[in-house]
């Protein structure tokens, strides 16, 4: 198979026209909207976005939409099932020659981490097992953001949320959705981040050229939920990659490949200290135990990656 992401080799190859309209009610500095802009520029308007309850539901508020293509809001748990109905219906219409190939659409599910990691996981699992031909985009802001950032299954260890106010923050650990998705052996799984538009574009372009379930998790820095100045969104996104907290990787043909290995990893502290949700790790005094634990988990992850690479 020729890798269509070859079409995008450098930053100059990124689309110069921006397709998603402005004036949406997302928060200033929304990392999810940043990623969605970049994704939409590549997917284009021959798409139908199937949305589950979350922040992005507010993109289309009657009678306005920033999308040039189509949109269907479903419910929190069943956006992939909505995609199934649309994909199957379009296939039936094509097969019966009731529509031409030009009328066909790419079906794209758009949900937050609340739906992807939790309530919607059963429907997502079902869609992968049926090898549904669609793209799933999870914007992961690591909490139930639209309701005020309560912790979700995507919340990282020690993060303070509206439902984990204690000195240690969230005591659980971020669920490994990437591996859960990979276990289903879909066509494609990738992690992306808006702060690395080139890596993101290559992956979306690659996903677009494939068939079957193509699953994308976009880590989405969230000024409101993570408590930082909106102008830091890109910086925090870059640090998520540079510190190794958010590994950029992809799965295809039975193999997981890291698309960007931070050889000289910055200490995770650099990422954490910019965010109010981790402030309790530094003030009134440094929580060395927790900081060391977080660093150790990141180190352990990359050690495994390096061993696997040798």
């Amino acid at each position: 198979m020729t890798d269509s992401s070859d079409n995008i080799r450098g930053i100059k190859d990124l689309p110069s026209t921006h397709l998603l309209g402005t004036g949406t009610p997302m928060c200033a500095g929304c990392g999810a909207l940043e990623a969605l802009h970049e994704i939409y520029d590549i997917l284009g308007n021959k798409t139908v976005f199937v949305n589950a309850a979350g922040c992005m539901t507010l993109l289309s508020v009657y009678p306005f939409t920033p999308f040039r293509g189509s949109w269907l809001y479903t419910a929190m748990a069943s956006a992939p099932a909505g995609a199934q109905g649309i994909r199957d219906a379009l296939d039936i219409l094509l097969q019966q020659k009731r529509i031409t190939q030009e009328e066909d659409l790419e079906v794209v599910v758009l949900t937050g981490d609340g739906a992807a990691y939790g309530m919607g996981l059963s429907a997502t699992s079902g869609s992968m097992e049926r090898m549904l031909d669609y793209i799933y985009i999870c914007y992961d802001n690591e909490g139930y953001g639209n309701t005020g950032q309560q912790y979700s299954a995507a919340t990282p260890h020690a993060a303070r949320t509206s439902t984990s106010h204690g000195v240690s923050g969230f005591t659980g650990y971020k669920k490994n959705l990437f591996d859960i998705w990979v276990a289903h052996k879909p066509a494609y799984v990738a992690t992306v981040i808006g702060a690395d538009p080139l890596d993101l574009a290559k992956k979306i372009e690659k996903a677009r050229s494939m068939e079957g379930p193509r699953m994308i998790i976009a880590l989405s820095p969230c000024p409101t939920g993570w408590d930082y100045d909106p102008r830091e969104t890109v910086n925090i996104g870059r640090l998520a990659v540079k510190t190794g907290v958010w590994p950029l990787k992809e799965y295809a043909d039975g193999e997981v490949v890291h698309t960007k290995i931070p050889r000289q990893r910055a200490p995770v502290e650099e990422y954490l200290k910019l965010q109010g949700r981790f402030a309790h790790l530094f003030e009134p005094e440094r929580n060395e135990v927790l900081l060391a634990e977080i660093q150790a988990r990141v180190d352990a992850y990359w050690e495994k990656v390096e061993v696997a690479e040798k």
């Binding site: 909505g82 109905g85 659409l105």
Partner: protein, 416 residues
Amino acid sequence: MKRTLLTGNGAAAWGARLAAVDYIPAFPITPQTEIIETLADWIDTGEISGRLVTMESEHSMVTAAGSAAATGVRVFSATSSQGLLYAMEMLYTVSGWRAPFVLANVSRGLSAPITLEPDHNDILAARDSGFLQIHCASCQEVLDSTLMAYRLAEDERIRLPVIVNLDGFYLSFTREPVQIPDADAARQFVGSFDAENIRFRASAPESQAVAVLGGGPYSYFRYETHLAAINGAAVYDEIAEEFSRCFGRKHDAVEAYRADDADYLFVMMGSFASKAREAVDRLREDGWAIGLLRPRLLRPLPVVHLQKLLAKRKAVAVIDQNISMGMGGILHSELASVLYGRNDAPTVLASFIGGLGGRDISTEEFFEMAQSIRQAVETGQTPAPRLLYTQTELREVRKLQAIAQVERQQLGAIDD
């Protein structure tokens, strides 16, 4: 047109087949499963050309049904009981999408306690969802109603999903002689589905089911849906008339059995109404002027028909095969609201609950109910709502409890 023995489930599958459905999202649940098995079998043998996809839940099944209908194909699906409730969020949602399709519900009592046998609390939980509802009492009706339901759902004055309800076991697994309409005649009657402007096409981008801000737009869309459902009453009558012309069977919105000259009426929905019909015949032999009304269309409620059919009666016994906890029979409440303030309303509108979880209603109990409403007319006192239950049944339950008690004692779980 051929006549053959079909179960209610088989009849529902035949209805979907004759409507030439394109798409069937499915999920198994007793006592509905035979419907999707039958359709899957026909697809596998190439007898029909639809596509069936087994989803991982009824919630997903109804989502896929709605989104496929919103893309412009003809959709059929089927469920029962817990499945209908599991899908409840999506019932409200897809009717709001104005996605027209037909869902067969095989009625079965709700948990807890869990049971397989029928009553109408499942289907009545969906009463306010925006789905229109047709309730069947025979296998023939199940087939015919499925064809009529597509006309109703897809009518441009309505555009709402429709549930065709049949009772578990009593219809789902009971074989009855059914006239299977000629395929061409059925196709001509149902027509083809015109999605109009509600569909997804690359050349005509569409945003469906977007959020609204504030009560103004929200109320606007909710009222629109309600008014469309209301339109269903008149449209149903048109469709029933046309169906009768095409196939020689008339399925009125409200079936009236020996009711013309009746002073007394039973009112019941679903297959258990056949028991009431039998009781009416027996009572007529004893000289009673009694009949039966059976609402087939529950949403929209055929208010005008009901007012007319109930007018000037001496007394009415409403037998609900459902129970609204803390209130009582749901159909009774609906009829009371239909009749309130009308000069010609019957003075006695008595409520009885029976048939829960498939509990039988005996002919003797129908006699007792008839006596009870006649007495009410004489005394001017409407009886308090009654929960049908016999001493024998109570004794049987006590026996089960006694056995359980003895077992526990013998196992040493409790003191002697």
